[in-house]
């Protein structure tokens, strides 16, 4: 399982490479962004073996890339990025994962964390009560099939028009919260069945709602543009496309098994099944996956609405006149058609990000006008005890990583190991003593998500900043967490 560290070539302080000749089926070299510690950890499990497998994908361009939050997944490593050529490359559902457009939305408020601290338990109850989470079933927003199709093709934009939000919210999302190439007809009836009562629900596992305080601002100009200031209360929503997205992935991983046979691909791992992007199957997956991504954006938009309503209903509103604004919303698990410069030529590529965020630099037309001078906000949530970061993307990300950056801290311990090591009640007490109020769907789930189960977010962020992919804007400190 372990990877031979001597096969990694150190390029500089934050870059390691595995040459294309490491295995005979690698089409391009692999690159890992890491410091020595992170590299050594990554070599212990199957992360790097999985990264080498990604380099096999037909039509892959440049490098198979791994961010410093890399850890073992299935098929792709988590923290993996791969760009394939739109004309002769493939698209792989395993390069996106089952939770399509699992992502993070950051909301800013017009009050300081200190102002809400005296009411925190009550506010946390309101937040936890507003959004159905964890083990429960669907939410309040149930859709007839026709409306669901609108959500699948309209994403956050549909949700806003349907009354779940404010017009400005959509402008502050990656893709404006809607991928245009989505086709509701490409999503199976079974996937729709699983999704129809799940809009506006958080889900379980690593999904969360978090109240944070802006603990430190590193770049005043960028923070000002993003609407962030020291001491401010902000919220993060981490969720995805729920059962609908899981089923879309399951459907296509299954149906692509026969495509692999037809195309005579010699897969290093069956979870890497793929289809030529230009084929009918490839186009169908792209359309269905985009629809699931839109569903996730609609989901985070509706949760934003539910949170606003909860804050309004809370007595606090009368005291504080609290209002929430969308800072930005990024996808972690997605494949998108983008234009990138490769060896001096602009090419249309399908960029797979599996546990990675898009990171487009200053001046890029896809960055909202209000942030274009600064660069795209890159949201990097950490664990519930330490911190999260708001970064801004730099040109180096565009030049080196197809405009991509890390997506979080990355797991360091398995769920089983975390459960064995952590006493959930003690954890909740300790977090309380640190000033973090916790609401958890289950104690077991809380233990699995303990800070000790994650890498040190500061170290992960230092790598992407040191490598020049992004720059620090602000650090957030958790004060209240709802775990799904």
């Amino acid at each position: 399982m372990a990877f031979n560290v001597s096969d990694l070539k150190r390029i500089d302080q934050y870059r390691y490479e595995i040459p294309a000749g490491y295995t005979e089926n690698m089409r391009v070299p692999a690159r890992l962004y890491a410091d020595e510690d992170i590299m050594a950890e990554a070599a212990k499990d199957r992360s790097l073996e999985q990264l080498v497998n990604v380099a096999w994908l037909p039509g892959i361009v440049g490098f198979a890339l791994a961010m410093p939050d890399v850890h073992e997944g299935y098929g792709f490593p988590i923290g993996g990025v791969a760009a394939t050529d739109m004309t002769d490359g493939v698209i792989s559902p395993g390069g996106v994962g089952y939770d399509i457009n699992c992502g993070v939305r950051l909301l800013s408020s017009n009050v300081d964390a200190d102002q809400v601290r005296p009411y925190l338990p009550r506010l946390m109850d309101a937040v936890a009560g507003a959004v159905p989470a964890g083990m429960g079933r669907g939410g309040d927003v149930r859709l007839r099939s026709g409306k669901l199709d609108d959500a699948l093709e309209g994403g956050a934009q549909w949700a806003i028009q349907a009354g779940f939000g404010e017009a400005a919210d959509g402008d502050r999302c990656e893709e404006n919260g809607r991928i245009g190439r989505a086709r509701a007809g490409a999503v199976s009836p079974r996937a729709k069945e699983r999704g129809k009562d799940q809009l506006g629900t958080l889900g379980s596992g690593n999904h969360f709602l978090e109240l944070d305080e802006v603990a430190e601002v590193y770049d005043a100009e960028a923070a000002d543009a993003f609407g962030l200031s020291p001491g401010q209360l902000v919220l993060q929503i981490h969720s995805g496309s729920r059962g609908l997205g899981h089923q879309v992935c399951t459907d296509f991983v299954r149906s692509f098994q026969s495509v692999v046979q037809r195309e005579r691909y010699q897969l290093p791992d069956r979870e890497l099944v793929c289809a030529p992007i230009a084929s009918e199957e490839g186009q169908d997956y792209l359309a269905a996956m985009s629809a699931a991504a839109n569903f996730a954006w609609a989901n985070r938009q509706i949760m934003t609405h539910l949170l606003r309503r909860a804050f309004e209903n809370e007595l606090l509103e009368k005291l504080l006149k609290l209002h929430l604004s969308v800072v930005y919303d990024v996808a972690h698990n997605v494949a998108k058609v983008e234009r990138h410069q490769v060896a001096g030529r602009v090419r249309e590529l399908c960029v797979h990000r599996k546990g990675a965020t898009r990171a487009f630099p200053p001046g890029h037309e896809a960055v909202p006008a209000a942030y274009r001078r600064i660069g795209q906000p890159v949201l990097v949530p950490g664990d519930m005890g330490r911190a999260s970061y708001v970064l801004r993307a730099r040109q180096e990300a565009m030049d080196e990583t197809f405009g991509s950056c890390c997506h979080g801290a990355g797991r360091a311990l398995s769920r089983t190991a975390a459960r064995n090591r952590v006493d959930a009640r003690e954890l909740r007490r300790d977090l309380g003593e640190q000033g973090v109020e916790v609401r958890a769907g289950s104690l077991k789930g809380l233990a699995e998500e303990a800070p000790v189960a994650y890498k040190d977010i500061h170290q992960v962020v230092d790598v992407v900043v040191g490598a020049g992919l992004a720059a620090k804007v602000a650090r957030l400190r958790p004060i209240g967490v709802v775990k799904g």
Partner: protein, 131 residues
Amino acid sequence: MGFEEIGHTADLSIRAWGSTLDELFVAAARGMFSLIGEAGPPISARTLELDAPDSEALLVDWLNELLYLSDRHEESYSGYDLRIDGGRCLSAEVRGGPLKRREARIKAATYHGLAIERENDSYTASVIFDT
């Protein structure tokens, strides 16, 4: 026939074994539902008919089909009548009831590193679940 949970950094994983392919499939289903949560008294029976290009794909299909049913009806299953023909066709009746307490929500069974190994009279497979 049996199963055990094994560690995986991001997700959940089980190893299952049985003296026939049928037993292996039942053990894998039991392993999966040990992660998801126990069933109350059996009150529902659901039938499944599946075919796949090979036994590994059939195992993934079987688990994903059960996941779909479990998700859809908020159920867990404990009784299995199952028949596999030629390693690639499966018909089954599963019995179960409402989940007593959900321990985990599994998104899907994956193909990652999946191989059904046969040694003498024993079939073994490890399955990684996305959670």
